[in-house]
């Protein structure tokens, strides 16, 4: 049964609020059953050829990652372009890039939940999945970029026969704990939130295999009041737990740079700058993927232009924070009169990697400015293009930070440069392959939208809904945001 697409008129229906109350969050078929049908359809139907192609290509890219990594373990770190002085190159830029992307999901799920932003329900499942997969991609980098991978277990504080502990003063160790916990909490949060939806899929399942599989993962959800009570409480607790992680995890990742003393790295603005950048790049990635997914899977009425516009507003805000941070770095370099810092800024803008710096400025500072204009915020094509530019810009930002400070630091005699090798590129492409493979599997087997949460925001879900007789288009309380 095809879901009716949103008509041109309806498309504009919820873009502005009426004088009294709020416009509805969802458009089109807003019935409970309609939502279920729309969201479960991609999971229950035979996958389209587009999906299959997407999946095969992603698996191929992931295969490239596996092969590159195997060769890396066999031959050594030298197959990458890293050298003395630039001992960290694409691998670490990619790591920070992926951790950054992962922050959007947690912000949408946890922070917006605590702020009671109901519009988050259409996109939070999608974004959270993206978080998990981005964390997986991110964690792969510190694992593979160490010189002796087989001894990586030494970073864990396990009792050993050498009587030694890891060095707790090192930011890399804080990373290990921070990102691991982040991944764990995000995963639990995501899974917990999915339980009612998995139960829906279990109940709608036609084959025994599906029934049992979804049944196992639905953990026996009955939809009883007791279950809902536990669910809501657990959800709230995890949201409260995950919220500080949004701020702390990328702050700790920024400490990888800020704790060192290299000019261009050693600045106190890094934690807020990185967190804002993380949200910025994360939302841009969500936007990129969501624009395609909502069109391909036909739920433009669940994830409406209003939702996309809200994301664009967040992007604009965090983009302005980033722009402020760039400006502040330049200001402090001038004001502080630290000769190494001033040179680092001049080198970034005019040195051998100036091209990367200016791409970063154009994509991160100039491109999002278009979102001041309402027309731009509500135009899907503009949203898609700008979000891609931002992704590119944010990758370049991590590259610029990592490489420009390293290649020219204190002693002029040690200055060098960095150029990526085929294996660096393969590792980046491969990580995208890993991400998209997981993503394709997610789209195929798990509900992309948090059905239960979306339904909870509908008028039909209100306890007193049927009392005044029939459904209403809009109610004064609790709908839309």
């Amino acid at each position: 049964m095809a879901t009716p697409r949103v008509s041109a008129v309806e498309h504009e229906a919820n873009l502005s609020d009426p004088l009294s109350g709020r416009a509805p969050l969802l458009l089109g078929d807003r019935s409970l059953h309609g939502i279920t049908k729309a969201v479960c359809r991609p999971v229950e139907c035979v996958p389209s050829r587009a999906w299959t192609l997407f999946f095969v290509v992603s698996v191929a890219m992931m295969g490239l990652y596996v092969l590159t990594t195997a060769y890396l373990f066999y031959e050594g770190i030298g197959i990458w372009g890293v050298n003395n002085p630039v001992n960290w190159g694409w691998a670490i830029s990619n790591f920070v890039f992926w951790v950054g992307i992962s922050h959007a999901g947690t912000l949408i799920s946890a922070v917006l939940y605590l702020f009671r932003q109901k519009w988050r329900t259409s996109i939070n499942r999608f974004a959270e999945a993206m978080t998990i997969f981005a964390v997986v991609c991110a964690l792969s980098y510190p694992t593979i970029h160490v010189g002796r991978v087989w001894l990586l277990h030494w970073v864990f504080p396990i009792p050993n026969q050498m009587g030694t502990w890891p060095n707790f003063r090192s930011p890399l160790l804080w990373d290990v704990f921070a990102v691991t916990i982040y991944g764990l909490v995000s995963f639990i949060f995501w899974y917990l939130g999915m339980i009612p939806d998995l139960a829906t899929l279990r109940d709608r399942a036609k084959t025994r295999a599906r029934k049992i599989t979804y049944g196992i993962f639905a953990l026996g959800w009955r939809g009883s009041t007791r279950h809902w009570k536990h669910y809501e409480r657990a959800y709230l607790l995890l949201a409260a737990l995950a919220t500080p992680l949004v701020l702390s995890v990328h702050s700790i990742v920024s400490f990888d740079f800020a704790i060192s003393q290299l000019p261009g790295w050693h600045t106190t603005i890094f934690p807020p700058y990185f967190v804002a950048g993380a949200v910025f790049s994360g939302f841009a990635m969500v936007l990129t993927l969501m624009v395609i997914a909502r069109w391909a899977f036909k739920f433009e009425h669940i994830v409406t232009i209003r939702h996309l516009e809200n994301m664009a507003k967040v992007i604009l805000l965090t983009g302005m924070i980033i722009a402020y941070a760039y400006g502040m770095e330049l200001f402090i370099a001038w004001y502080g009169q630290n000769p190494y810092e001033s040179f680092s800024c001049a080198n970034r803008a005019f040195g051998p990697y100036a091209w990367a710096y200016w791409i970063m400025i154009v994509c991160n500072v100039i491109a999002p400015q278009i979102f001041w204009f309402k027309r731009a915020r509500q135009n899907v094509v503009v949203l898609f293009v700008v979000s891609i530019l931002i992704n590119i810009g944010m990758w370049f930002e991590r590259f610029v930070i990592t490489v420009t400070s390293l290649h020219r630091d204190f002693l002029p005699s040690s200055w060098g440069d960095y150029s990526p090798t085929f294996f660096d590129v393969a590792a980046l492409v491969g990580s995208f392959g890993l991400f998209f493979t997981l993503f394709a599997l997610f789209i195929r087997y798990l509900p992309m939208v948090a059905m239960s949460e979306v339904k909870a925001g509908l008028p039909e879900a209100k306890p007193h809904h049927g009392a005044e007789g029939g459904s209403r288009e809009a109610s004064a309380t609790g709908e839309g945001a």
């Binding site: 031959e75 050594g76 770190i77 030298g78 372009g81 890293v82 050298n83 003395n84 002085p85 630039v86 001992n87 960290w88 510190p142 970029h145 160490v146 010189g147 002796r148 991978v149 001894l151 990586l152 030494w154 970073v155 030694t164 502990w165 890891p166 060095n167 003063r169 090192s170 930011p171 890399l172 160790l173 290990v176 990888d256 704790i259 060192s260 003393q261 290299l262 000769p339 001033s342 040179f343 001049a346 080198n347 005019f350 040195g351 390293l406 630091d409 204190f410 002693l411 002029p412 005699s413 040690s414 200055w415 060098g416 440069d417």
Partner: protein, 662 residues
């Protein structure tokens, strides 16, 4: 002193000057020549070879097919000789052409006698038995003339002739073996020098080179010399102190000359002299004389093994017997397609930042008058002149607001390097490589910036010339070399960023590197402001062992051989410190004192430095050499503003230029 490459008239001028200065017998001594070099010897031989009069040629060492000037065509002639025998340490161009090749023993494997230029005699004693079946030169020559006898017997035989009395002979033999040397009775000579032909020879000298008449200057290379060390990977990878090139030679041009010819570094050009040509890349070096092309010899070796293969270009192609070292009239052809990658270990040659033009006073130098003027005006408590240059804040502002937490017990190790004494010879780099099992990485990896040297010579050009607009140019430069190794900082930035704690601070002030703990995250190298750490990107040891099977025998058993994925750096030769400490502790059991006395633990770089520029020892002992050095007013620390508190400090270079020459 006049260099060996100079023509006779310049030597004559030198003699005349020395006589005017009354130097003979005081600062210079002339000794009778032991092995007088006869001009034209090789030309005479070649003449005889051309006439076919040479039936048997025995070559004891050397590589004449490579280094005899090309116009003599020694190689072609050698190939035609019916019986040619080359006694050689390794395969080279000569052994390729000789009919017979006899492996030569290394001088450290055989007995012999050596005499220095002042007549001092020493007995060459072997350290090990020959590793392979080989003969020394004296063994070979005696074998040609009679039964085969080993070097020891030959040396003893010679002594028998010198000291007929058996008892006295034994006494002198043992004494010389023990002392190592035997002083000679040779006296200085004071020949009468006649300068009759000097003025006419001087009048015939060539004019200075002009832009239409470029001069080619063939120079012996700093590391491979005349080519004899071409198969030595350590020396091939040793950066030239001025050009910083490894594994290759290039046509060295000055900045102005290159600019005028429109050439940049790594551009391929074709040099031609008469009808002989050589295609090779250019390397622009500030300070090379104008309109001169310097061409290092010793590269472009063939048939000499994997190390020398493909390393550089054979400059001997432009070396004629009439002008073995200097010749004018060389032509440069530009526009030869492509460029050739040259592996240099230092990309930025000055202490001046690009884009901002600011100066980074990393290596401090001054003239004597500047130094004296400052020191005269310096008030008590003010930082010394070197620190005034190198630090942007006074010493008092470098105090931390936190309490000192570094543990300091026992002797405190430190090092002082005198930049005035350092001549930039690179001996420290090689000694460190030998002592600490440091691998060579090959040209490709040096191009990638991965050379493994623990101590390197940073070479900075300081511009001394100005162009027409008053802008500073690099045509005339001062060069200052600064040896840079791990500074063993008291507040080392590398220590707290290692996630597994592989680099910790010892109570004696050393920054310890535990290779077995390192998992290779490389954060320590990022955080080191001196970039003194090197990383094993590949298993370089395995690669080396594949090309040099005997290298495993060279390795120092007191130092760990590193695997890939592990960071390494200078350790102040901690194996030597530990060895001395164990000796001291054992001795201390008897005497109660277990302190390492000054000079008992020498670092390899200190031991080998020919000018004793590097001094290492206990800084907590006010009488130690290093403490005395650090008390000098020229003492400064590099990047002191970062408050790394390095244990290695430097003594600024003071130059005393003649104001009339400046």
């Amino acid at each position: 002193m006049v260099g060996e490459r100079q023509p006779p008239r310049v030597h004559a001028l030198g003699y005349a000057l020395n006589q005017l200065l009354d130097a003979y017998g005081r600062t210079l001594t002339l000794m009778p020549a032991l092995d007088p070099r006869i001009d034209g010897e090789i030309e005479a031989l070649v003449g005889e070879m051309k006439q076919g009069r040479v039936k048997t040629l025995v070559m004891l060492g050397g590589n004449p097919a490579y280094d005899v000037p090309v116009d003599l065509e020694f190689g072609e002639l050698l190939a035609k000789i019916p019986t040619s025998i080359a006694l050689s340490l390794c395969e080279n161009e000569t052994t390729q052409l000789a009919r017979w090749v006899v492996p030569a023993s290394h001088y450290l494997e055989t007995w012999g006698e050596l005499r220095a230029t002042d007549g001092t005699l020493t007995i060459q004693q072997p350290l090990i038995r020959p590793l392979v079946e080989s003969v020394s030169a004296i063994e070979f020559v005696s074998w040609l003339m009679g039964p085969r006898r080993d070097g020891y017997a030959l040396v003893r035989q010679r002594w028998k002739a010198r000291y007929p009395n058996k008892a006295y002979r034994e006494l002198m033999w043992r004494r010389t073996l023990h002392d190592g040397v035997q002083r000679s009775d040779d006296k200085a000579i004071f020949p009468t020098l006649r300068y009759g032909g000097l003025s006419s020879a001087y009048a015939q000298r060539q004019a200075a080179p002009t832009k239409d008449n470029l001069e080619l200057c063939l120079a012996l290379d700093n590391s491979v010399y005349d080519g004899r060390f071409g198969s030595n990977a350590w020396l091939q990878e040793l950066p030239d102190p001025v050009t910083k090139l490894t594994w290759d030679n290039a046509a060295l041009l000055g900045v102005a000359t290159a600019g005028r010819l429109g050439l940049q570094s790594e551009d391929l050009v074709e040099l031609s002299l008469g009808d002989r040509t050589l295609a090779l890349p250019v390397w622009v070096v500030p300070g090379v004389a104008e309109n001169t092309i310097v061409l290092p010899l010793g590269y472009g070796r063939q048939h000499s093994g994997v190390v020398a293969e493909g390393a550089g270009f054979n400059s001997a192609r432009l070396r004629l017997s009439t002008s073995p070292f200097f010749v004018q009239g060389v032509k440069v052809k530009r526009g030869v397609r492509g460029s050739y990658p040259l592996a240099s270990t230092q990309a930025h040659g000055t202490m001046v930042e690009p884009h901002t033009g600011k100066d980074r006073p990393v290596a401090v130098d001054a003239t004597l008058s500047e130094y004296r003027a400052y020191e005269k005006k310096r008030k008590k408590g003010e930082r010394n002149f070197a620190r005034k240059r190198a630090q942007s804040v006074p010493d008092s502002q470098l105090q931390s607001i936190y309490k000192e937490t570094t543990v300091k017990t026992g002797q405190q190790w430190g090092m002082s390097i005198d930049l005035s004494s350092c001549i930039g010879c690179n001996a420290c780099t090689v000694a460190c490589q030998a002592e600490n099992n440091i691998s060579t990485v090959g040209k490709k990896e040096v191009l990638n910036g991965r050379e493994m040297h623990w101590i390197r010579l940073d070479r900075y050009f300081e511009a001394e010339s100005y162009d027409a607009e008053g802008e500073v140019t690099l045509d005339d430069v001062q060069v200052i070399t600064q040896p840079m190794a791990c500074q063993q900082c008291e507040t080392a930035p590398c220590e707290n960023v290692c996630p597994v704690g592989a680099t910790a601070h010892s109570p004696e002030g050393l920054n310890d590197m535990a290779y077995n703990r390192c998992i290779g995250t490389r954060y320590c190298a990022n955080n080191c402001p001196y970039k003194a750490r090197t990383f094993n990107f590949f298993n370089y040891t395995k690669r080396e062992d594949a090309t040099h099977p005997l290298l495993a025998m060279q390795r120092n058993p007191d130092v760990t051989v590193r695997f890939r994925g592990v960071m390494e750096k200078c350790t102040y030769c901690v194996q030597r410190i530990n060895g001395a400490k164990i000796d001291a502790k054992v001795r201390g059991q008897r005497t109660g004192k277990s302190v390492i006395r000054d000079g008992a633990a020498l670092t390899a770089c200190q031991q080998v430095c020919p000018t004793q520029a590097i001094v290492f020892g206990d800084i907590s002992d006010p009488n130690s050499a290093v403490a005395r050095h650090k008390r000098q007013t020229r003492d400064f620390a590099v990047l002191a503003d970062l408050r790394t508190l390095p244990r290695t400090t430097y003594l600024a270079q003071i130059r005393n230029p003649n104001p009339e020459l400046a």
